[in-house]
Every structure is written in structure tokens, then in C-alpha cells.
């Protein structure tokens, strides 16, 4: 279960980074700096892929675990 908790925490961290990235990209776009838009989208996509991998890991491991509840 420690592995699942660790993966969940990692997903949460990646999500916070993605939120920051989206707000910063929007700020740059509104400021007319289009150069950062594509790299930011690539990084955000990579973070999303990592989240998907971690989620599939949790899904795989969670099926075999005895206690699957958060609360």
C-alpha cells in the first residue's frame, strides 16, 4: 500500500506543476508571448503521460491489495 500512496502523492505533485504551467502559459499567451506556448504544451503532455502511467500502476497494484480505501 505504500507504493500506492507514493504514486498518488506523485500524481498530486505532477498535477500541481501542471496547474502552475497552465496559468503561466495563459499569462504568456495573453501577454503576446506565443513562443512559450508550444513547449509548455509539450511539457504538460509529458506530465499527463506520467500521471497516466502512475494511474495504471495504481490500478494494477490496487486490484491485489487487501485494503483499498483512502479514508
Amino acid at each position: 500500500m505504500v507504493a500506492i500512496d507514493g504514486a498518488l502523492a506523485l500524481i498530486a505533485v505532477l498535477l500541481i506543476v501542471q496547474m502552475w504551467l497552465l496559468s503561466a502559459t495563459l499569462e504568456a499567451y495573453l501577454g503576446g508571448r506565443d513562443g512559450v506556448v508550444v513547449p509548455a504544451a509539450v511539457v504538460s503532455g509529458a506530465l499527463c503521460a506520467m500521471c497516466l502511467v502512475l494511474a495504471s500502476f495504481i490500478r494494477k497494484v490496487g486490484r491485489t491489495g487487501p485494503n483499498d480505501s483512502v479514508s
Binding site: 498518488l8 502559459t25 499567451y29 504538460s44 506530465l47 494511474a55 490496487g62
Partner: protein
């Protein structure tokens, strides 16, 4: 666990505390991970949407507008005008005898109107004490995230003509 009165009916406090902990639905780790991952997909989709928007953004068209005659504004003086549309307030500052600069009057923080302070020689925003350089519009202090859009001026005879804006993100305000 069931709490009943002696005659077998539900106790009176059950009306006030009608939610049973054991009946509450547990959020599993898998469900929580799924929620977080879907949010992550939404963030990536948001970034992708900005890319698409930037591809289809038309470069703004700026008209040529006569802002003022050179002698109209004294040194240290200010003239307000609207550019590129009547809904975009700007201000022209004569910083010395030969130099005129013009910027959008809309603060890049929360869109308050900035003003020129001759004492500090800065463009000040009164709302949250943001200040911008009168030389290039860059942020000197306060919360504004980016510089003021600059109106590019050209001298035509004795007139100052606004020809375009720099650092103006989107299309002119309609």
C-alpha cells in the same frame, strides 16, 4: 449498530443525525487516482487549447492615428488618448523636450488606470501600488505581471502619429 428505544421505534435524535457513517460511500485509492489523472488530462487539454488559439490568432491591425501636435504637451505633461480603438485608453508623456512616450493606460495587473507621476518619473497604478518605468514600460514594483503595452509613435511634421502597439497581447478591444 442499531439503536432502538424500548418499544422498538427509532430514537428521537435519529431525525437530527440521520447520516450513518457505515452507509457513507468510501472513495477508493483507484477512484481518487482516476480523478487526479482526469484533472491532469484536462490541464494538458487546456495547454493544447492555448496552442490552437495561438495558431489562429490574427495579428492585430493598428490604424495610424494622430495623437497630438508636438507643442501640445509641455515637458512632464500628459495627454490621454484612445488607441487602437475608442475603448483602449492610452497616455502620452513628454519626458523631455525631444522625447515623447506613450503606453496603454490599463494596468497589466487588474486593469486599473495608471497615471504618470512627475515626482517619481514613473507610471503608477493607484490600486495596488504597481509602478512602471516611463522609459520602456517595464515593471519596477508591485504586482503587475508584465510591462505596459507601448504605443509606437512616429513624427509626421509637427504631429505625433501612433502607428502600432508593442506587447499588446490580443486583438484590440472591440
Amino acid at each position: 449498530m442499531t439503536l432502538k428505544t424500548k418499544d422498538g421505534s427509532e430514537p428521537l435524535w435519529r431525525d437530527e443525525f440521520s447520516v450513518r457513517a457505515e452507509d457513507e460511500r468510501l472513495v477508493t485509492r483507484r477512484q481518487f487516482a482516476k480523478f487526479l489523472t482526469l484533472t491532469s488530462v484536462a490541464m494538458a487539454a487546456g495547454n493544447a487549447w492555448i496552442v490552437v488559439k495561438s495558431w489562429f490568432r490574427r495579428p492585430p491591425e493598428f490604424p495610424r492615428v494622430t495623437v497630438a501636435a508636438i507643442g501640445d504637451v509641455p515637458v512632464g505633461g500628459v495627454k490621454l488618448f484612445n488607441y487602437p480603438t475608442p475603448n483602449d485608453p492610452c497616455l502620452l508623456v513628454r519626458t523631455d523636450a525631444d522625447t515623447h512616450v506613450a503606453y496603454s493606460q490599463v494596468c497589466t495587473h487588474l486593469s486599473c488606470a495608471v497615471f504618470f507621476s512627475p515626482e517619481s518619473e514613473r507610471l503608477e497604478c493607484p490600486c495596488h501600488r504597481g509602478s512602471f518605468s516611463v522609459t520602456d514600460g517595464s515593471v519596477i514594483a508591485g504586482p503587475p505581471p508584465r510591462r505596459l503595452p507601448r504605443v509606437v509613435l512616429e513624427r509626421r511634421g509637427s504631429d505625433l502619429v501612433a502607428v502600432r502597439m508593442e506587447g499588446h497581447g490580443g486583438e484590440p478591444t472591440r
